[in-house]
Amino acid sequence: MNPLLLFVFVLAIFLGLELITKVPSQLHTPLMSGSNAISGITIVGAIIAAGEGGVIATVLGTIAVVAATINVIGGYLVTERMLGMFKTGKGA
């Protein structure tokens, strides 16, 4: 592992802590769902696991791909639907 990755990790954590400050309550669920979709980034890991060979790894990886894709696709679509409920303009 590249030790620089730790650097990346620390910076991303700090950035995550700063990024969100005050969120109107109607946005709680959409924000949760939207960020949940981002956590589906594990799909990248799943793809690699499913494609790099080895029977068990491929099996596990494929299941992981399915699960992660559900998370990603479902997450973005669900968020989109929720946000569609708000009128544009001042939704707060």
Binding site: V23, G45, A46, I47, I48, A64, L83
Partner: protein, 461 residues
């Protein structure tokens, strides 16, 4: 990793960052979600394009997963959103757990550091996965929403966690000292199972009403699991996106806690909080202070608010800011009233003078008799420097000098904020049990300063 791939990942990360930021504001939320979706697409394509992979199973997985996700997202009712999110989060956690496992299985010699990462991925991913499923069950009422509680719960959970960490340590030491002996060891399986069990056990004791907070927390967990997976496969975009979600999810969880007037610790330690509440012993003598900032989160989510002004509002000359806060609450969609007790203040009509000065519309002024009958339906009662007129001793303690006087029964509201400078009694010199009630939050300080703080929090949102 090729440079172009790194660039693609950087681009994806930037889109995630901007997307997350924009999701937090109503005006930009939609655009934010789409930006982050584009980021995801870029990350996936960059991964696929790097080559060296057998695409068969990948494509199969993508198609199946995509279909399920799309159909589920389309089918779900608007009211079923929280449980849907729980399920989606569960699959994310599961995926991370599997990625960790696959890597463990695949690589013959796992270095110690990677082993640590793998164990974290498995442990946290597992908890997120099974916990989310339980949360889903509670939210969709497939599992009873009531907290499941039993003696020794804390001890059991703690021991299981300790056991899991122990087993994980074994795996890591295995990897470090004797090298990964090709294949899954018993210890590894144990960690896996314990993680799943812990997820269930951690969520089961929490009441249905707290589930949204739990889901948000589990979402943060699965972000961290993804970051850990990133360390496992040495992939930077996983680390960045996962950490972002992990950290911002924690903040969101905290925000949601405040909006529901719960402490994060209470939720973090699962059953413990519930157990105390269930115990139901009157928490007499324990005062729960709150900051104006935190009060904002509760007010922001309130649908009905009753102000109860008293002499302290006059002393603080807080009437103008009270009127302003009331205005903001009305704009935020809340039903707002000011309940004036006949003896509030130091002269008859004291509160009327002040509120008229602040141009509070007469329509918002009500008498105790108008609010008391429906007090249970009031989300927040804000007591501003009143004391005797809200003292439950008047109806609970026949020896009290206030006994028999009709009061404004804010102790029966869902939440009650009491704004005053200290624990001192009011004009009648009688201690006030209201301050110790479960649903009461004391906001100490000059009432004007306190309300000004709440107003600022509102405007700032």
């Amino acid at each position: 990793m090729a440079a172009w791939q790194t660039f693609a990942y950087i681009l994806a990360s930037i889109l995630f960052i901007m997307g997350l930021k924009m999701l937090g504001r109503a005006e930009t939320a939609k655009r934010g979600n789409r930006l982050s979706a584009v980021g995801m697409l870029i990350a996936v394509i960059a991964t696929l394009a790097a080559g060296g992979l057998d695409y068969t199973w990948i494509v199969l997985g993508l198609v199946i997963g995509g279909a399920i996700g799309a159909v589920a997202a389309r089918r779900v009712q608007m009211t079923g959103m929280p449980e849907m999110v729980a399920l989606l989060n569960g699959s994310g956690g599961l995926a991370s757990m599997l990625v960790g496992t696959a890597e463990y299985v695949r690589v013959p010699e796992v270095p110690a550091f990677s082993a640590v990462a793998i164990m974290l991925t498995v442990l946290i991913g597992g908890i997120a996965a099974s916990g989310s499923v339980v949360a889903f069950g509670k939210l969709s009422e497939r599992i009873d929403g009531k907290p499941y509680l039993f003696r020794g719960q804390k001890v059991l959970n703690a021991s299981l966690l300790a056991l899991a960490l122990l087993a994980a340590a074994v795996v890591v030491i295995d990897a470090a000292v004797i090298g990964n002996v090709g294949g899954v060891t018993a210890a590894f399986v144990l960690v896996l199972l314990l993680a799943l069990a812990l997820g269930v056990l951690a969520v089961i004791p929490i009441g249905g009403a707290d589930m949204p907070i739990v889901v948000s927390l589990l979402n943060s967990y699965s972000g961290i699991a993804a970051a850990a997976a990133g360390f496992v496969i040495d992939n930077n975009v996983l680390v960045v996106a996962g950490s972002l979600v992990g950290a911002s999810g924690l903040i969101l969880t905290n925000i949601m806690c405040k909006a529901m007037n719960r402490s994060l610790a209470n939720v973090l330690f699962g059953g413990f909080g519930a157990e105390i509440t269930a115990g139901g012993a009157a928490a007499e003598g324990v005062v729960k202070p709150l900051t104006p900032e935190d009060a904002y989160f509760i007010l922001e989510a309130a649908g009905s608010v009753v102000f109860v002004p008293g002499y302290g509002m006059a002393v603080a000359q807080a009437q103008h800011v009270v009127a302003e806060l009331a205005d903001l609450l009305v704009k935020n969609g809340a039903d707002v009233r000011h309940a004036i007790h006949p003896v509030a203040g130091r002269m008859p009509g004291h509160m009327n003078v002040l509120l008229a000065e602040a141009n509070v519309p007469y329509e918002q002024l009500v008498e105790p008799g108008d609010v008391n009958p429906n007090m249970e339906t009031i989300d927040v009662a804000i007591v501003i420097g009143a004391n005797d007129v809200v003292n439950p001793a008047a109806k609970e303690d026949p020896t009290s000098p206030l006994w028999g006087m009709p009061i404004i029964e804010v102790d029966r509201a869902r939440t009650c904020f009491v704004l005053k400078r200290s624990m001192n009694p009011g004009f009648a010199g009688v201690d006030n049990l209201l301050f110790f009630k479960d649903n009461t939050r004391m906001i100490f300080g000059d009432a004007k300063a306190t309300i000004t703080g709440m107003v600022a929090a509102f405007k700032d949102a």
